[in-house]
């Protein structure tokens, strides 16, 4: 069991927006195997809660507010998340890509 002190390297930052009770983007690609920092910006005036059992995270984001979540390191795979206050509309999936696929995706986006 490791109870080591935190690694000081800053995790990569990703952004998720909530507008009209929808997540944007609804599919978010992230690298597997490393911790990420996910900033969730709520552009609706009402609160929303980011919730995911597979990610083991729940976080309330106040209306017109923002919240930061620290996620991972994740195994490659799909992780469903939803907005607890508006579960019928606020749905999304976070896809953790293995190193090679993540680098390929970054290269494709750069071109």
């Amino acid at each position: 069991m490791s109870l080591a002190l935190p690694v000081l390297a800053e995790p990569a930052l990703f952004e998720l927006q909530i507008k009209d009770h929808l997540f944007h983007p609804s599919v978010l690609y992230v690298p597997a195997g490393e911790k990420i920092k996910l900033q969730v910006l709520n552009q609706d005036p009402s609160p929303e809660e980011f919730e995911s059992f597979s990610l083991n995270r729940e976080k309330v984001i106040l209306g017109n507010g923002k919240a930061t979540l620290f996620i991972g390191p994740l195994q490659p795979g799909r992780y469903h998340f939803f907005g607890e206050y508006n579960p019928d509309s606020a749905q999304g999936v976070l896809i953790a890509l293995p190193e090679a696929q993540w680098q390929q995706r970054r290269a494709d986006n750069a071109n």
Binding site: L3, L5, V7, P47, N56, L62, F70, N86
Partner: protein
């Protein structure tokens, strides 16, 4: 003030060492294992129950119930107020006291190698002018689909009919997040004249939007000769 995980580990260890003391048993040890998290806008009502059984033990047939109402007072802090009812043989069942509890989330989940929180509780026993103040560290760490939760608590008791003293309590829970509704775990409790461990099962059922019911059930067995043989622990928490 910046949060220091190394300082927190030191305090956690020091509080755990306090559990080795010996004195009169005047508090309950088997109770909820607290997670170090608080949600903004959270509100809940909570019911907790415990029952102890061993025919030839002074704590035989002891039963306790707690009814609480909790709400967040800031993005990282929540208050809960409890009514407490106990039956300690040979006395009858009675409303024995009330308690005010503050939970404070120190770090964001996943920010450091473990997540940290603080607990403060003040309990007053009815008609006896006895008080109990509890404070300590709450820690949780993820290991893949499992979570280890530790509570290291210091308890100060004073009043008319109890000895003024410091005690230590340590609670641990190792949980497998199998499904939202079914999460098996094992729990360990160490405190004044009590050392026990056993299996537990917990889960959450969502009704609508933020309305959900959390449940916990544990059977804790003695792991030394001084501890009452069996303790049943049960809790229901409705969040809305």
């Amino acid at each position: 003030m910046r949060f220091s995980p190394s300082l927190a580990y030191g305090v956690l260890g020091s509080l755990a060492l306090m559990t080795s003391g010996h004195s009169l048993a005047d508090g309950r040890v088997v109770d909820k294992v607290y997670h170090p998290y608080v949600q903004a806008l959270e509100r809940s009502v909570e019911y907790r129950y415990f029952y102890q059984r061993q025919a030839d033990h002074p704590d035989n047939n002891t039963m306790g119930q707690k009814l609480g109402y909790g709400f967040s007072v800031a993005e990282r802090a929540a208050l809960e107020i409890y009514l407490i009812a106990d039956r300690v043989s040979p006395e009858d069942y009675k409303l024995s006291g009330y308690e005010l509890e503050l939970r404070w989330m120190l770090t964001e989940q996943g920010q450091y190698s473990a997540d940290w929180g603080l607990l403060f509780e003040l309990e007053r026993q009815n008609n006896q002018d006895n008080f109990e103040f509890t404070t300590g560290l709450l820690m949780e760490k993820e290991f893949g689909p499992t979570s280890l939760t530790l509570n290291a608590l210091a308890v100060y008791e004073w009043g008319k009919t109890i000895e003024t003293e410091w005690e230590g309590e340590f609670r641990a829970q190792y949980r497998y997040r199998l499904l939202p509704a079914v999460q098996p775990a094992i729990e360990l409790y160490v405190g004044e004249n009590y050392k026990g461990a056993g299996p537990s099962l917990m889960g959450v059922h969502k009704f609508d939007k933020q309305k959900q019911l959390k449940w916990e059930l544990a059977v804790i067995m003695a792991i030394d000769n001084d501890t009452v043989d069996r303790t049943l622990r049960f809790a229901l928490e409705y969040e809305f």
